[in-house]
């Protein structure tokens, strides 16, 4: 197809319709924000790059262009702080890309006889639809902006524990004694939490985001999420106050939206990142020097662990246990250490499936971990 610039823009906006409808059906602001971001990235590329570089665009080019746009949209999403769970975000992107292909190659040519010779301009009905889509996206963004939670900037050190019972965004500062989150749509950004039993304690809440949060000197868990949907990105967990500590614990959250833990550093705790009966993406984290397990995906969880680095874990690097289904890919486990001689399941196992768990493993790197990759007690490990 040789698109005119108008044709590119109108076709792109109209083809966003299915993704927009899906976003509206999801009832989540992040979904509308993500659709707006995808649209904005696409339109900028249309105007600045594609129109000049592609006087004719074969259908196959949609594949590399889709990958290019994804490579721009994903970091932009993270940079802008759009709280999208990775799998749903990818699903929304896939729907948008696929619908663009279906519209361009089937729907438009079927409904608009002159679509190809008009350079991809979908005609009057197309213009009206494009306008409706654009208005909905802009309106959705406006609504999201209008109802956004208030932002509170903390200065210096605040004596806690702080209890948050309303949607809000807390930025900066140091909180002594922990933060308890009991409301939806709470964001902590660039906050340092010192001390307390739990650094951040989240219960019965969703759409909670912890962005660049540091937790230290906690007595039990640095971050504890119970019955919650939480996005944790770029956090730091260090210097626990005792030996029985967990870095990040997400439990009994199956009924909540998916959670995600990414780009966090967890050092010197008993369990680095632990899930129970939850759906969590554990991605690109650095877990060092745990005394029981590096990453634990357990108790009927449905989790993915990918791109994590687990170093010097005593006993077990990554474990999928107790009827859980786990996707364990592209992780690096270095120096898992033998923890006594009596229990082979703690014999420096890099990746382990335990007690009726099913793990799928692929492209992991295991270094200096004598236990290797093993399944115990009616569990299975499938290698892709």
């Amino acid at each position: 197809m040789s698109y005119t610039l108008t044709g590119r823009i109108q076709s792109r906006i109209v083809a966003t319709l299915p993704a927009l409808l899906l976003a509206l059906a999801l009832h989540r602001w992040w979904a509308i924000e993500l659709v707006a971001l995808m649209l904005a990235v696409g339109l900028v590329l249309d105007v600045v790059v594609y129109h000049r570089a592609l006087p004719y665009q074969p259908a196959w080019v949609a594949v590399p262009l889709g990958a290019l746009e994804l490579a721009i949209v994903y970091p932009s999403m993270r940079y802008l702080g759009i709280m999208a769970p990775l799998r749903l975000a990818l699903l929304l992107y896939a729907v948008a890309w696929l619908s663009a292909q279906v519209f361009a190659h089937a729907v438009f040519p079927r409904l608009q006889l002159e679509y190809a010779e008009a350079g991809g301009e979908p005609g009057r009905a197309g213009v009206l639809t494009a306008a409706a889509v654009a208005v909905t996206v802009v309106g959705g963004l406006g609504a999201a902006y209008a109802v956004r939670p208030p932002t509170i900037h903390l200065h210096g050190t605040v004596q806690g524990p702080l209890v948050i019972r309303h949607a809000e965004t807390l930025v900066g500062g140091v909180v002594q004694g922990g933060i308890r989150i009991r409301a939806n749509h709470v964001t902590l950004r660039n906050v340092t939490i010192v001390g307390g039993e739990y650094g951040v304690d989240i219960e019965h809440a969703q759409h909670v985001m912890l962005d660049h949060v540091r937790v230290l000197h906690f007595a039990l868990d640095a971050v504890r999420a119970l019955d919650a949907g939480v996005m944790i990105d770029n956090c730091s967990v260090t210097a626990p106050a005792g030996p029985f500590t967990t870095g990040i614990l997400i439990s009994y959250s199956m009924g909540r939206p998916m959670s995600m833990v990414s780009h966090c550093t967890v050092v010197g705790v008993r369990e680095g990142i632990s899930t129970h009966s939850s759906m969590v993406d554990v991605m690109d984290n650095h877990v060092v020097g745990t005394t029981v397990r590096g990453i634990s995906l357990s108790e009927m969880s449905m989790d993915m662990a990918s791109g994590n680095q687990v170093e010097s874990a005593r006993g077990i690097g990554i474990i999928c246990m107790d009827h859980s289904l786990c996707d364990i890919k592209h992780n690096t486990i270095t120096g898992a250490q033998v923890d006594g001689n009596s229990d082979p399941s703690r014999h420096g196992v890099a990746i382990e499936a335990y007690f009726y768990a099913n793990a799928t493993v692929a492209h992991n790197t295991v270094i200096a971990s004598p236990g290797g990759v093993q399944a115990f007690d009616n569990s299975t490990i499938a290698r892709n």
């Binding site: 044709g7 006087p55 074969p58 196959w60 729907v107």
Partner: protein
């Protein structure tokens, strides 16, 4: 009757199917022609050069909407993704057989036979309420789709588009798609082949560069002065055939060579295409003479929607299709060109309903 199509070839069928798709009843359309089979002439030429695959791609069919194209239909019929994958990579070329089968389907589905009138139109006259075709009418909207005005023959030779066999030494004059097809045919038949040509052929997938099939390339083309537009058309008319090993590999043999003149004592096949220009078409020549239509070189000057400006207004339309419409659409002698004119013709009908 509101509209008439003068001519009954593939361009006429494309226009007819488009009108029917646009809601014009069969009773409102008269198709004048010499053969009720719209593919008869095209089929004869394809058979003569033993063409097996189309140069056009998936949307090179005569149905009004381009989706589903021939690749989708073939994929569904064969239960294979291969045609779709080829189409995505611009490598799909339907077989002549598939194209003709689909054309036959379009013919029967559109009701073509109900509108066909066996009569060759020799004269079109503007009258109150539209046009009369050899005294029939008046028709408010007329599309002239008379096709190529005849073969460009060379004395003492057989034309590629006429039935022929191959001698042991064959000189093929020309360097376009028909010539390239004939090189392969003659080599395949075991002949020694001499390609006689004055210039090297252009290698491109379709008749003209792809942007000229859409508004993107056409807007610039339509903005050209008459001189430059004619020059562009002459440039685009240079003989061409698609690139690719399917065309090149068979020529890598000692039995194939290029010479400037046909050697003595060999069979000469003229793959020289068609006569060019409206003057070779009696119907068009008469129209130009009678109404002093604006021309430039061998072309009748048309508006971008393929209409003849002097004979088209808010109440009536005279449009040209096929090769005669090149002034509006450089690839007018392709299926895409026939559809371009058909779409514009339907637009005008809808506007004046």
């Amino acid at each position: 009757m509101r509209c008439a199509i003068a001519g009954s070839g593939v361009a006429a069928l494309a226009a007819y199917a488009t009108l029917r798709h646009g809601g014009v009843p069969a009773e409102e359309i008269a198709v004048f022609g010499t053969d009720d089979d719209p593919t008869a002439q095209w089929r004869g030429r394809a058979e003569a050069i033993r063409q097996r695959r189309m140069r056009s791609e998936s949307d090179g069919h005569l149905a009004p909407a381009s989706f589903p194209g021939l690749a989708v239909r073939e994929a569904a019929r064969r239960g294979s993704l291969r045609p779709l994958i080829q189409s995505v990579a611009d490598r799909y070329h339907p077989t002549v057989e598939d194209f003709l089968a689909h054309a036959s389907e379009v013919r029967s589905r559109s009701g073509w036979d109900r509108s066909f009138v066996a009569h060759r139109v020799e004269r079109i006259r503007a009258v109150d309420g539209g046009f009369e075709l050899d005294g029939e009418g008046p028709f408010a909207h007329v599309l002239v789709a008379t096709g190529h005005p005849g073969l460009a023959r060379m004395p003492g030779t057989v034309h590629a588009y006429e039935p022929h066999e191959y001698a042991s030494r064959v000189a093929i004059v020309g360097a376009g798609m028909a010539a390239a097809t004939e090189w392969l045919n003659a080599l395949d038949a075991g002949a020694e082949v001499i390609s006689v040509r004055r210039r090297e052929p252009v290698r491109r997938p379709l008749n003209v560069p792809r942007p000229f099939f859409s508004k993107r390339g056409l807007s610039g083309y339509h903005a050209l002065s008459n001189e430059r537009r004619a020059a562009k058309l002459r440039e685009l008319a240079a003989p061409s055939f698609p690139p690719g090993p399917a065309w090149d590999k068979p020529l890598e043999t000692e039995r194939f060579r290029v010479e400037p003149e046909p050697p003595d004592g060999c069979q000469v096949i003229a793959a020289t295409g068609f006569l060019k220009g409206y003057r070779h078409d009696p119907l068009l020549a008469d129209l130009v003479e009678e109404y002093e239509l604006t021309t430039h070189g061998r072309w009748i000057v048309l508006d971008p929607d393929s209409t003849v400006p002097a004979l088209t207004d808010d109440t009536r339309t005279l449009a040209l299709s096929g090769v005669a419409a090149q002034w509006a659409f450089p690839a007018a002698d392709t299926i895409a060109g026939a559809k371009y004119t058909a779409h514009a013709f339907l637009r005008r009908l809808c506007r004046t309903r």
